[in-house]
């Protein structure tokens, strides 16, 4: 029987797992340990529900409800001096929780602090755009949509950004294979030559490490050489290995120990 592979996460798995391995944790510190962050958190807590908040590797992480995302970021920008949205994207937790986690990485230049706002949404749920607050979210949200399929409301131009417009599937989801899916394999063939050329051209090889043992055009077969292009799908001809023609090659003489000179002094 073929081994079961989970379909909800097709990412590469380590070949060795230790079932007794307990992974250590990166320390989470209480927000009260940092005065600046504590004030910021109090300001958020006064108006919004905070699900969790901690400091990890010198940056505060605040987990909020997805519905509050615009209001919280607006408040942080206008009242708490977080003047740049340096990054935002999503994390795919569909396999375990059926949710996406969206994070907003913010920077306050006056306070020299960085914090991360996080919220979780369901697969089909959409999110409010923060493009009105930070123009940088324009492209980030498009990238997030492109890679995960997280739709953002009130975005001026919700279109794919890195992948072609007519692409199917969302490449950074855990269900999307690294080498691309069926659609990816036929995409360029269909686009350039048309569907009717599928049989002639065949699917695109998207695995750069693929080896075809029957391909005698592109693969050398050390020790089992056959003439280039031989069809060996039904067994291969027995080709004896001959490294030099029996009658010798023009200008090249076979080695003869009797006639050769041994040089003892290499600086001669």
């Amino acid at each position: 029987m073929r081994a079961y592979t989970p379909k909800d996460n097709v990412q590469k798995k380590p070949y060795y797992t230790d079932r007794y391995w307990v992974a250590p944790q990166v320390a989470k510190h209480d927000v009260s340990s940092d005065e600046v962050f504590a004030h910021d958190l109090d300001a958020i807590k006064a108006k919004f529900e905070v699900l969790d908040a901690y400091i990890q590797v010198d940056q505060m992480v605040v987990i909020i409800n997805a519905a509050d995302n615009f209001a919280v970021i607006e408040m942080l920008k206008n009242e708490r001096e977080y003047n740049q949205l340096s990054e935002m994207s999503a994390i795919d937790w569909l396999a375990t929780e059926g949710k996406f986690e969206v994070f907003y990485q913010m920077l306050s230049m006056s306070k020299r602090k960085r914090l991360r706002i996080k919220c979780k949404i369901d697969e089909k749920e959409s999110l409010q755009s923060v493009e009105k607050l930070f123009r940088s979210a324009d492209w980030s949200e498009r990238e997030m949509y492109d890679m995960f399929g997280v739709v953002v409301n009130n975005h001026p131009f919700m279109k794919r950004i890195l992948m072609p417009d007519d692409w199917e599937g969302f490449p950074l989801r855990k269900t999307y294979p690294l080498q691309g899916d069926e659609f990816a394999a036929w995409y360029e063939v269909d686009k350039i030559f048309g569907k009717e050329a599928r049989e002639i051209i065949g699917p695109e090889n998207r695995d750069p490490a693929r080896i075809d043992r029957y391909d005698t055009e592109r693969f050398s077969r050390l020790g089992h050489e056959v003439p280039r292009g031989t069809d060996i799908t039904n067994g291969e001809p027995d080709t004896p290995l001959v490294y030099q023609e029996p009658e010798g090659v023009f200008l090249i003489e076979k080695f003869d120990a009797e006639q050769s000179v041994v040089i003892s002094d290499r600086h001669r």
């Binding site: 990412q11 992974a23 944790q25 930070f134 123009r135 490449p171």
Partner: protein, 408 residues
């Protein structure tokens, strides 16, 4: 009827007979001054741009997806291919993020060498920027001069790690090699000559009428716009925001060296050009100080953390346990603790950040690459309207975008 998908020329991109007299010009994806595969769809009224849509993704290799399927050390050579003009800074950003995630302290000599690599890369990147931008504007001499100097630096890096473009010269936990014997002397020789070289460029450009016409008051980015678009590095500092991550959130030995952060409040192309030139001088200043630091450091190059970092080669070849541990780390990979981290560094292009979400496995659960050029390309949407066709070239030039980084 022509079919747009076939390999035959067709003319969907240029429409001549529209009622509103608007022309849509397709700039790229193959354009010599786009510095990569950038397609700009420009809506034109005569020569003036009314709307701009940058279209990217022509160099998209899915690095974030690749990272999720690789052990941490395996990903290092891939980071080279982001900003391939200054690849050590990408290596460094990734190494630093993983080190912070684990909580590693790197030996001092490794820090010194990393500082040298980072600043050499900054010089290389800025020289490359100057050369290509000047060439786009038409200053061939500057291009040749700047490439000549960059070549010295490339040779120097080649002496160190053997590669000229994709260095992979930083490892998680330190650096792989000590400096070769001639490195410090050669670098010092180069630095001694650098001020003259920079003066040469400036003599050619600073008062050059063509250069000034193409640069001054072109591509003005206001402070609000720069902040809103997530600009960083020179793009931000030219708009009057004094923010250099090396200064504000120092990493490595940047808190031990003296250097200034050049700022301008003009926000135009010329301001950015002046900042690049000033930054080269500051880099040289840092390098002089770092060269003096190298003497008297302990010879260790990699951090000692058996759970994550392989032992030195001598130990691997002589001690059984080190060999076993090395074997496990190479075949299975290190497993950083569960947690997440976002570490920004000041790469030559701006804020280069790595967000890593680790679930305690050998592969990162999610790795987000925050590349500065991505937003510096995005800002073209708002920056180009109102400008003229020739300005597009000089604006793309001074944004200093690299498409390995935009598309990742």
């Amino acid at each position: 009827m022509q079919q747009s998908n076939r390999l035959r020329p067709f003319f969907e991109n240029i429409t001549f007979d529209r009622v509103d007299n608007e022309m849509i010009l397709n700039f790229g994806p193959q354009h010599p001054s786009a510095h990569g595969q950038l397609r700009l769809m420009l809506h034109m009224q005569q020569e003036q741009i009314t709307k701009a849509h940058p279209d990217i993704g022509y160099l998209h290799r899915g690095m974030e997806k690749m990272a999720e399927n690789m052990i941490y050390n395996e990903f290092m050579p891939t980071t080279d291919r982001m900003d391939y003009i200054a690849s050590s800074s990408n290596n460094y950003g990734f190494a630093l993020a993983v080190e912070r995630l684990i909580g590693l302290e790197v030996p001092r000599r490794a820090k010194v060498i990393r500082m040298m690599l980072l600043e050499t890369n900054r010089l290389m990147s800025h020289l490359f920027w100057l050369a290509t931008t000047a060439l786009d504007i038409g200053a061939m001499t500057v291009f040749l001069f700047a490439f000549r100097e960059r070549e010295y630096l490339m040779d120097l890096i080649e002496d160190y790690c053997g590669a000229r473009l994709t260095h992979s010269a930083v490892r998680i936990g330190g650096v792989p090699l000590d400096l070769p014997d001639n490195f410090i002397g050669d670098l010092r020789k180069f630095l001694d000559k650098l001020p003259e070289n920079i003066k040469d460029y400036e003599d050619l450009l600073d008062t050059n009428r063509i250069w000034l016409m193409r640069m001054e008051n072109v591509g003005v980015i206001s402070k609000e716009m720069a902040l809103s678009w997530g600009c960083s590095g020179v793009m931000l500092r030219a708009s009057g925001v004094e923010w250099d991550i090396r200064k504000e959130e120092p990493y490595e030995l940047y808190d031990e060296v003296e250097f200034n952060v050049p700022v301008s409040d003009k926000g135009d192309n010329y301001a950015r050009y002046k900042l690049y030139m000033a930054e080269m001088r500051e880099s040289a200043k840092i390098l002089y100080q770092v060269l003096d630091m190298y003497e008297g450091t302990e010879p260790a190059l990699m951090a000692h953390a058996p759970q994550y970092i392989s032992a030195p080669k001598l130990d691997i070849m002589t001690q059984n346990y080190s060999l076993m541990q090395h074997f496990v780390l190479v075949t299975q990979g290190m497993r950083p603790p569960v947690g997440e981290v976002y570490i920004p560094t000041e790469s030559p292009k701006g804020e280069l950040g790595y967000y890593i979400n680790s679930q305690g496995g050998a592969y990162p659960y999610r790795l987000k690459l925050r590349a500065p050029s991505f937003w510096h390309t995005g800002i073209l949407t708002d920056l180009l309207p109102g400008h003229y066709i020739p300005d597009v070239v000089s604006i793309i030039g001074t944004t200093n975008i690299v498409f390995g980084e935009v598309d990742r």
